[in-house]
């Protein structure tokens, strides 16, 4: 039996300890290779304020899968920016033969017209990864931009899906180019297994598997996968965190508000 580690001392999770303390891991059966849907609350890195939510829906295919992404940014209130997209894989590996398309839209102002898209601000993107080449296009672009000689690629929030199926063995890692936000090409990313931690989640002891994401333009991040259910429970970097479950709008702003106020006023 592993030693129980207080959540306050677990790297990454200690930033969102209050959230983890109230996180209820769903009991329902979960197959990371099957069809599923999960919603995450997006938090500031200090774990307090809810800044939006991410919903992922995976549809397994005979070969490959489709991942539907719905990322909504709102400062604890109305949706402000929304990125919705589809990522399709047709190969045996997640990073083989990728195709994606996304729609990015700015929504109504801070204080009015919640969830009403401002039509002129809608932007669209699509791209693919095939034959070691990443191709990116958007509506205003006649020709695609290409990045060649890419050994492996993952798109946006695809990591949230993949990490639930990665081997949980020390020394296991995967290197790839990340197409962040459906269009930002960030080479040299590595996600690596970094051990199991016995800690307390939602008042109950659980074993979590830690995966570390490091690379170009990436603030070190930890991904936490529940041993029992294989669900990804949380992703934490210094700047932001994703925690499984939805938080009511406007919830949990106090602590982050203090930290941000301090940061902004002092500096």
């Amino acid at each position: 039996m592993q030693q129980l580690i207080p959540i306050e001392t677990v790297v990454g999770l200690n930033q969102i300890d209050q959230r983890v303390n109230t996180l209820q891991v769903p009991d329902a059966a979960f197959d990371p290779d099957g069809n599923w849907a999960q919603t995450y609350t997006i938090l500031a890195g200090d774990g307090g304020a809810a800044h939006g939510r991410l919903t992922l829906m995976r549809q397994a295919k005979a070969s490959g899968s489709t991942l539907l992404v719905d990322w909504r940014k709102g400062a604890g209130g109305p949706t402000h920016w929304r990125i919705s997209g589809t990522i399709r894989t047709s190969g045996a590996q997640a990073e083989d033969d990728l195709f994606w398309q996304s729609d990015l839209a700015r929504y109504g102002g801070f204080y009015d017209t919640p969830d009403a898209a401002i039509v002129p601000t809608r932007l669209s993107r699509d791209g693919e990864y095939a034959n070691r080449t990443i191709s990116l296009r958007n509506a205003a672009q006649a020709a695609a931009t290409r990045t060649s000689d890419v050994a492996a690629a993952l798109v946006g929030w695809q990591l949230f899906d993949l990490v639930q199926r990665l081997p949980r063995q020390s020394g296991t890692s995967r290197t790839f180019t990340l197409v962040d936000q459906f269009e930002l090409t960030k080479p040299g990313q590595t996600i690596a297994y970094n051990g199991a931690y016995r800690t307390t989640v939602g008042g109950a002891e659980r074993t979590l598997h830690r995966f570390d994401l490091l690379g170009f333009a990436t603030v070190p991040a930890t991904f936490w996968v529940d041993d029992q259910t294989s669900r990804l429970l949380a992703v934490v970097s210094g700047l932001e965190a994703y925690v499984l479950g939805e938080t009511p709008r406007g919830g949990g702003r106090e602590r982050a508000g203090r930290a941000k106020k301090k940061a902004m006023e002092q500096y």
Binding site: V11, G12, N14, Q15, I42, A44, G45, D46, A49, H51, G52, K73, G74, A75, G76, H80, W81, L104, R106, G109, F110, P120, T121, R122, L123, N138, A140, Q141, T145, D180, Q181, E183, L184, K186, A192, N194, D212, L214, F216, A217, T218, V219, P220, S237, G238, L239, E240, A259, K260, K262, A263, M264, E265, Q266, Y267
Partner: protein, 486 residues
């Protein structure tokens, strides 16, 4: 003073190939260089006949030498490196005050912080001084739009919250949650303008001033504020141990300094590894910024406006980055005061040019932009138009021989070609650095008898500067600090 050296590149060198600038500012190496570029001359052209758009990219807390093209080995900034290839890059650019709000107040007015009244964070520009948006929209017939961090009365630009500008709102949160929406909002703005022009809704070709005010790499502040979680005693990612940046050579330098600077020094990191891990994260944030700038510049290219747009890239101030034992900003050392500045306009300005000689500052941006807009700068603007330094010319440029910055309200710094002199009202410890022989600012020479005249001359420069200021009502000229209500 000699003209800066014009350099140009063939095509797309990597950051490893481009110009390296040492901390002395000297050109160390240049590979892949071609001969002088062919640049169309703007001489003889009336400013009003070629009023360009202006894309002003302001980032937050980016050090002057924290990019790949400056020779920093710890960061990869391919987009900023590319921008540098088509820009005049100034290597001696000074923030008027190395803290967010005072710097921004001065940047957007061309006036010193003691004049704008913004001498601490979150202050407001005094109402009788116009900001750039007000001036350009009223006198230059420009469309003015602002997106991102404002921090002059509020952190983020909110609808109706930035006088003279149409605000493109982006929401709240730290940089990671905001910077990409800044890019997208700016792209949408450019797309909408293009659509409007194609539909004939924008007669007269009204140019735009678009400010993209990014947050990064400012979020590194969180690594200090939340040090216990983010920079614990034990390296949280042991696999990085061999990849952490080296500490700067002046990390342990403690030259005699005003007491306020000693108080500012960051004392919570107990090991070199903690400092180096802080640096590692800082450079990842710089890379995040770089990817956003790349995305924004690509959007500008797609908008069809790139050839008629002056791009200005700068930062409000730098970051301590372990130099002198500091993190963050608010003190007069180069790591906080010196900022990057790159200016480009395809075919009009000198590309791939490093200006390593002229002392310039953020207060020069308002006069420069007004110059290209074909209008006079606002009254009493302290800065000077950079135009003579940007455009191809063989004529020598008569330029200033010193530049003043302030810090923490009552601190003043004057930089001349060779020296930096620091004086803080009410503190007996002065500072004098010989930046030619001591670019890392490790030896305070103010008590060197051989340099007494130099000290006196620089003190006089500050006296003259202070006597000429039009102090804001909330600033006490006697103390240089904010007036205390009775």
């Amino acid at each position: 003073m000699a003209d800066p050296t014009p350099l140009s590149f063939e095509t797309g060198p990597s950051r490893r190939d481009v110009l390296r600038v040492g901390l002395t500012g000297a050109v160390v190496a240049a590979t892949g260089l071609a001969g002088p570029s062919r640049v169309a001359s703007a001489a003889g052209e009336s400013p009003a006949a070629s009023r360009p758009n202006v894309l002003l990219i302001v980032c937050d807390q980016l050090g002057f030498d924290a990019m790949g093209w400056t020779g920093c080995p710890d960061v990869s900034t391919r987009n900023l490196d590319r921008l540098r290839q088509r820009s005049v890059a100034f290597n001696r650019t000074h923030s008027p005050d190395p803290v967010c709000s005072p710097a921004r107040g001065a940047l957007f007015t061309g006036r010193m912080p003691a004049e704008t009244g913004v001498i601490a964070n979150a202050g407001q520009i005094r109402p009788d001084i116009p900001n750039l948006g007000q001036w350009l929209s009223q006198h230059g017939n420009y469309d003015t739009a602002y997106c991102g961090k404002w921090h002059l009365s509020d952190g983020w630009a909110r609808e109706g919250g930035v006088p003279g500008f149409t605000v493109l709102p982006v929401g709240d949160g730290q940089g990671a949650l905001v910077d990409h929406t800044i890019t997208l909002s700016c792209e949408a703005y450019l797309n909408n303008r293009r659509a409007g022009e194609q539909a004939g809704e924008r007669p007269g070709g009204k140019p735009f001033l678009l400010v993209a005010s990014y947050m990064q790499p400012h979020d590194i502040c969180l690594w200090g504020i939340q040090q216990e979680q983010l920079v614990p005693a034990e390296l949280p990612f042991p696999q990085l141990r061999d990849r952490l940046p080296a500490l700067p050579p002046n990390h342990t330098a403690r030259p005699a300094a005003p007491a306020s600077l000693d108080r500012l020094r960051f004392k919570r990191f107990k090991s070199d590894e903690q400092w180096r891990y802080y640096l590692y994260n800082y450079y990842r944030l710089v890379e995040q910024l770089d990817t956003e700038v790349g995305r924004l510049l690509a959007a500008l290219d797609r908008s069809g406006q790139a050839d008629n747009t002056v791009i200005i890239f700068t930062s409000d101030h730098g970051d301590g980055r372990a130099r002198h034992g500091h993190v963050q900003k608010g003190y007069p050392y180069d790591e906080a005061v010196r900022v990057p500045l790159m200016v480009s306009w395809p075919g009009r300005l000198r590309p791939a040019t490093l200006d390593d000689q002229h002392l310039v500052g953020l207060i020069d941006l308002v006069p420069t932009i007004c110059d290209y807009a074909g209008i006079q700068p606002p009254p009493k603007a302290r800065g000077r138009s950079l135009r003579p330094l940007l455009e191809p010319s063989t004529a020598p440029v008569d330029w200033r021989d010193h530049i003043v910055s302030q810090y923490r309200q009552s601190g003043r710094t004057v930089r001349t070609d060779r020296y930096k002199f620091v004086r803080e009202r009410g503190d007996p410890t002065l500072q004098l650095f010989d930046l030619h022989n001591d670019p890392w600012e490790t030896r305070n020479l103010y008590q060197d008898p051989a340099l007494a005249d130099v000290v006196a001359q620089h003190a006089q420069l500050l006296d003259v500067h202070e006597a000429a200021l039009d102090y804001a009502p909330n600033v006490d000229p006697a103390t240089l600090r904010e007036k205390v209500e009775a």
